[in-house]
C-alpha cells in the first residue's frame, strides 16, 4: 500500500482547504442564526387544522394515521373513497409545522422519501397547493381529499378533522 506516498500532500491540501472552508462556514452560519431564529419563532406560532370534505364520515385520525396518508401508505378511506392528500408549498412555514408535528421528520427527509418513490416509478407524491383557499376549494369538490390550512380558516364544503396523538 502506498498510503504514505500520498498522505502528506493530501493532508496538507485538505488542511488548507479545511481552514478556508471553516472560516467561511462560521461566517455564513453566524449570519444565518438570526434568520433561523425568526423562522423558529414563526414555526412555534404556526397553528394549522386538518380539513376534509363536509360529507366525509371520518371525524378523527391519529397523527400516525395522518402520517401514513401523507406518505402514501394508505390509499383509501374506510368507506372506500380514494384518498387524495394535499400538501403545501415546500418552503412554507405551515408545511414545516405539519411535517414536524405529524411526520416527526424534517421536510428534507420526507422530500427525499418521495424522490425515491418517484425515481423508482413506485408512487407519486401528494398534490401541492400554495394557499388555504386552494386547499379548501379542492377538498370541497373532491370527497376523498384531505389537507391542512391555517387555524381559523373557514370555507364552504369543508370541515375540520380532529387529530389525536
Amino acid at each position: 500500500m502506498s498510503f504514505k506516498s500520498f498522505r502528506r500532500p493530501t493532508l496538507r491540501f485538505a488542511g488548507r482547504l479545511g481552514s478556508l472552508l471553516s472560516v467561511g462556514l462560521v461566517l455564513l452560519s453566524t449570519a444565518d442564526v438570526a434568520a433561523a431564529a425568526d423562522i423558529a419563532d414563526a414555526l412555534d406560532a404556526q397553528e394549522y387544522v386538518v380539513i376534509v370534505n363536509k360529507d366525509n364520515p371520518t371525524t378523527q385520525l391519529s397523527a400516525d394515521e395522518l402520517a401514513d396518508i401523507f406518505l402514501g401508505k394508505v390509499t383509501e378511506w374506510p368507506n372506500g373513497w380514494r384518498l387524495e392528500p394535499l400538501d403545501r408549498s415546500l418552503h412554507s412555514v405551515i408545511r414545516l409545522a405539519f411535517t414536524k408535528t405529524v411526520h416527526k421528520k424534517s421536510v428534507g427527509a420526507v422530500n427525499r422519501y418521495w424522490m425515491n418513490q418517484v425515481y423508482s416509478g413506485r408512487s407519486e407524491p401528494p398534490k401541492v397547493m400554495d394557499s388555504d383557499e386552494k386547499v379548501a376549494a379542492f377538498i370541497s369538490g373532491n370527497p376523498g381529499a384531505i389537507g391542512y390550512v391555517t387555524a381559523g380558516f373557514t370555507g364552504p364544503g369543508v370541515r375540520a378533522l380532529t387529530v389525536v396523538e
Partner: protein, 728 residues
C-alpha cells in the same frame, strides 16, 4: 516556541460544522427542490409512445423551476441518491424516455452521440465507446440500475460493452462527467448509469403490451421489440424481447459501402417488483443480450486481418434488490456474466484460425443507507464483488486441421475481489450554501497463477485506495448555483493490468501484481441556471492523473531479464523483462457548456459545446484519442394537439483533430493527418395516431462522409429512419 495553526483550523472547522448541524429544521434548505408531482391527467400516452410511459408522467410544481412540459429530471448516479439536475453540484445529464424515443437511435452508443460532454468512438459498427473528459475504456464506469457493468478485464482503449445493453429496455440514462468518488474505481472520466424500465407506474393499466419497430436505410438495419407488462396491488412486471439485424453501412460523400460492418443481435429482459409494503419493494431483474458475427471493421478493412469477428458477444445480468424508502435502506445482489468469443485469421498467418473465448463472472452485493440529522443528509454504504475469469485460445491450422491450445487474453482462472466502504454528507449551511463531503475506501485483491514456458508468475497482490470529494454549491438565487468541486479519485489496477503476459519484440511483458492504483485529482468550477423555461450549465475542469500504468523495462527476481538458466547472465533466448509500472503522468483540461430554452410552450432551442485538451506529461506529447471540439445545436417544436406532433432539426459539428499522440499517428483508425471535422444536419418528426406512434427521420441530410475521431467506421450517409410503436 513555534505555534502551529493546525489546532485553530481544526477547532474552527469543528465549530463551523457544529453550528451548521444544529440549525433549526425550519430553515428553508436548498436541497428542498420540489419532487415532481403527479400530472392532472392520467397518462394514457407517455414517453414511450402508445404503450404509455411506464414511469409516472409528472409535472413539476408551479413554484419550482420546471419546463413547460413539467419535466423535472432526477439523477441517482452522482451521489447514489435521487436528486434533481439543478440540485446536483456535478456536471450531469439525464436522457429521459421521451428523448430516447424521439432520437430512435440504433443503440445506446449512437443515442449518446448528441449529448453534451460525451464523444463516442466507434471501432466497428457493433461498438461504440464513450469518451468523457478525454478518458475512455476502463476509465469510464458503466452502471445498470446502479450496478457496475465494468469487469476486471476491461482494458484501455475503446470498449464495445455499452452496446451490449438493449436500448429497448432503457427508461433513462444518467451521465456524470468527471470523477464520482462514491462510485469508486473506474469513474476517472465519468459514469453512465443505465436505468432500466420496470413495470407500469401507479396510474397505469393492469395488463398491457407493446411492440416497436425501427428501420434505417443506410445500413438496412431492422429491429423489432415486443413486451408485456402489468401491475397489481402488490406487484408489477415487464418482460420483453428484441431482435436486430443490420447490413453493411453505406457512408456519406464519396465513401462507398463499408464491408465488415453488419451483424445480428437478440435480447431479452425481465423485471418483477413485489411490493412488500407501501414503501418497501423486492425486485428481481434479468437481462440477456447476444450479438453474433460482429466484425472488427478497422482490422479487416485495414488489411491486418482476413477475418476478425466477435462471436458471440454475450452479456447476462441477474439482480435482486430490496429497497425501503422510509428507512433509506437499499440492498442489491447481482451476478454479472460477460462472454466474448473471437475468431481471427491474420493476413500475416492466413493458414491459422485463432479462436479465443473469455468469460467473466462477477458476484456482488451493494448496501446503501441514507439518513437525515439536523441539516446533514448522509448516504453511506458498502460494495463487495468477487470475480473469476476463464480465458482460452485455440489455434487451428486450416491446412492440416491440427489444433493447438494457447494462452487466452488473460490468466485463466484468475480472480479479483473488491471491497469498498463509502460515505457522503451533504450539509446545508443556511439557505445559500450546500457543502458535500464524500469519501470512499477501496481494497482490491487479485489471485491467480500464470504458467508459461518461461516460468510461473503469481498474480497475488492487494491494493488500497482512499478517495474524497468536496463539492460546494453557492445558491446565489433560487435559480442560480455557483459550483466548485475538488475530487481525488483512483483507478485500481484490474486483471487486465495485472495478468498481462505478452511476448513482444523488445521483451516479454510479465505480470506485476504489486502495482498501485492510478490517481487523479479533479478540479471543477461551474454554474447552473434554471428558471424553468431556461436551463444552462457551464463547467471548466482540470484533471491531473498520476501513477499511470505504462509498459516499461522492469525486473524479475532482481534482474532486468528472465534468467532461465539461473546463471545470472543474460544468454540468448532470455528476453528482457517488461512490466506495467506506475510511472505515468498526464493532464486533461477543458470546458463544457450547454443550454436549453423553452421559447414557448411549443418551441424550444438547445445547444452544447465541449472542448478538451490532454497532455502526456511523461512523454511530453498529446494524449491519445482526445476528441476535437464538438457540439450541437437544435430547434424542437412540440404540438399540443391530441396527436402530439413534434419536429426537430439538429446540427452536429466537430472540428478537425490534428493534435495527435504517437499512438494516434500509428493507429490505422487515425493516421498522421488526423481526423477531419464534420457538419451534419438531422431532421426528425413524429406523431401519435390512436395507439400507434410513428416517427420519421432524415439523418445526415447533406450526405456528409464523416467519422468520429478514432473510429474505424464511417457514419451512415443520408438515410431515412422509420419508427413505429403500438400499445395495447
Amino acid at each position: 516556541m513555534r505555534h502551529s495553526g493546525k489546532p485553530l483550523s481544526i477547532a474552527t472547522a469543528l465549530l463551523a460544522i457544529g453550528v451548521a448541524t444544529v440549525h433549526a429544521d425550519g430553515i428553508p434548505a436548498p436541497d428542498l427542490v420540489a419532487v415532481p408531482e403527479p400530472s392532472s391527467e392520467p397518462s394514457g400516452e407517455g414517453a414511450n409512445g402508445p404503450s404509455a410511459s411506464l414511469v409516472p408522467s409528472v409535472s413539476a410544481l408551479a413554484e419550482e423551476p420546471s419546463t413547460p412540459e413539467g419535466e423535472t429530471k432526477l439523477i441517482y448516479a452522482a451521489n447514489r441518491t435521487p436528486e434533481t439536475l439543478f440540485e446536483s453540484p456535478r456536471a450531469v445529464v439525464v436522457l429521459t424516455a421521451e428523448e430516447i424515443q424521439r432520437r430512435n437511435a440504433r443503440n445506446i452508443p449512437e443515442l449518446l452521440m448528441q449529448e453534451a460532454g460525451i464523444f463516442v468512438q466507434q471501432t466497428n459498427y457493433g461498438g461504440g465507446a464513450p469518451i468523457i473528459r478525454g478518458l475512455i475504456g476502463k476509465q469510464i464506469l458503466i452502471l445498470i440500475d446502479g450496478i457496475r457493468l465494468n469487469t476486471a478485464t476491461y482494458r484501455f482503449g475503446p470498449l464495445q460493452y455499452l452496446n451490449t445493453i438493449d436500448l429497448h429496455m432503457v427508461e433513462r440514462i444518467e451521465i456524470v462527467r468527471g470523477v464520482v468518488s462514491v462510485l469508486g474505481s473506474d469513474s476517472a472520466g465519468g459514469a453512465i448509469n443505465i436505468v432500466t424500465r420496470k413495470g407500469p407506474g401507479p396510474r397505469h393499466q393492469a395488463i398491457g403490451g407493446a411492440a416497436f419497430t425501427r428501420f434505417s436505410s443506410a445500413d438496412q438495419a431492422f429491429s423489432g421489440h415486443g413486451e408485456v407488462f402489468g401491475r397489481g396491488r402488490s406487484y408489477r412486471f415487464l418482460a420483453g424481447a428484441t431482435y436486430q439485424t443490420s447490413d453493411d453501412v453505406k457512408a456519406g460523400g464519396d465513401i462507398a459501402s463499408q464491408g465488415a460492418t453488419g451483424y445480428d443481435e437478440g435480447a431479452a429482459n425481465l423485471s418483477f417488483d413485489y411490493f412488500v409494503g407501501p414503501s418497501r419493494t423486492l425486485s428481481l431483474g434479468y437481462q440477456l443480450l447476444q450479438q453474433n458475427d460482429v466484425p472488427r471493421t478497422d482490422r479487416v478493412l485495414g488489411g491486418r486481418n482476413l477475418v476478425f469477428d466477435f462471436d458471440p458477444q454475450r452479456r447476462q445480468l441477474l439482480t435482486t434488490t430490496y429497497e425501503d424508502f422510509e428507512t433509506g435502506l437499499r440492498v442489491a445482489t447481482y451476478w454479472n456474466r460477460q462472454e466474448e468469443g473471437r475468431q481471427e485469421v491474420r493476413t500475416s498467418a492466413p493458414s491459422v484460425e485463432r479462436s479465443l473465448f473469455d468469460r467473466q463472472d462477477a458476484f456482488g452485493v451493494n448496501v446503501d443507507k441514507d439518513l437525515y440529522f439536523g441539516n446533514n443528509y448522509v448516504v453511506f454504504g458498502l460494495d463487495y464483488a468477487w470475480e473469476t475469469i476463464e480465458s482460452r485460445r485455440t489455434d487451428l491450422n486450416l491446412l492440416t486441421g491440427e489444433e493447438r491450445a494457447r494462452r487466452g487474453n488473460w490468466t485463466d482462472g484468475a480472480t479479483y475481489q473488491t471491497f469498498a466502504f463509502y460515505a457522503r454528507d451533504r450539509i446545508d449551511v443556511g439557505s445559500w450554501l450546500s457543502l458535500t463531503l464524500g469519501g470512499r475506501y477501496g481494497h482490491f485483491s487479485s489471485d491467480g497463477l500464470e504458467s508459461s514456458g518461461l516460468g510461473e508468475f503469481a498474480l497475488t497482490g492487494t491494493q488500497d485506495a482512499l478517495t474524497g470529494t468536496v463539492n460546494l454549491a453557492f445558491h446565489l438565487t433560487r435559480q442560480l448555483n455557483l459550483i466548485g468541486n475538488v475530487t481525488r479519485g483512483f483507478r485500481a489496477a484490474n486483471l487486465d493490468d495485472i495478468s498481462v503476459f505478452d511476448e513482444r519484440e523488445e521483451g516479454t511483458e510479465i505480470p506485476n501484481p504489486e502495482i498501485d492504483p492510478e490517481r487523479i485529482w479533479s478540479y471543477e468550477l461551474g454554474a447552473k441556471f434554471d428558471s424553468g423555461s431556461f436551463f444552462a450549465s457551464a463547467f471548466v475542469f482540470r484533471s491531473d492523473l498520476s501513477q499511470l500504468l505504462l509498459r516499461v523495462p522492469g525486473s524479475y527476481m532482481g534482474l532486468p531479464f528472465l534468467d532461465l538458466d539461473g546463471n545470472g547472465a543474460q544468454d540468448a533466448g532470455e528476453p528482457n523483462v517488461l512490466q506495467r509500472l506506475n510511472v505515468g503522468e498526464s493532464r486533461i483540461q477543458g470546458f463544457e457548456a450547454e443550454a436549453h430554452w423553452h421559447v414557448s410552450r411549443t418551441l424550444s432551442v438547445f445547444g452544447h459545446l465541449t472542448y478538451t485538451e490532454g497532455d502526456d506529461l511523461t512523454a511530453d506529447t498529446p494524449l491519445p484519442r482526445i476528441p476535437p471540439a464538438f457540439g450541437a445545436a437544435g430547434l424542437r417544436w412540440s404540438g399540443r394537439s391530441e396527436r402530439k406532433p413534434w419536429a426537430e432539426a439538429t446540427y452536429l459539428f466537430a472540428g478537425a483533430q490534428t493534435r495527435l499522440s504517437p499512438s494516434d499517428i500509428s493507429d490505422s483508425r487515425i493516421g498522421a493527418d488526423g481526423t477531419p471535422g464534420y457538419n451534419v444536419v438531422n431532421l426528425r418528426g413524429g406523431l401519435s395516431v390512436g395507439s400507434v406512434h410513428l416517427s420519421l427521420a432524415l439523418e445526415n441530410l447533406f450526405d456528409e462522409g464523416y467519422k468520429y475521431h478514432g473510429s474505424g467506421v464511417y457514419r451512415p450517409g443520408l438515410q431515412f429512419v422509420l419508427g413505429a410503436g403500438y400499445g395495447f
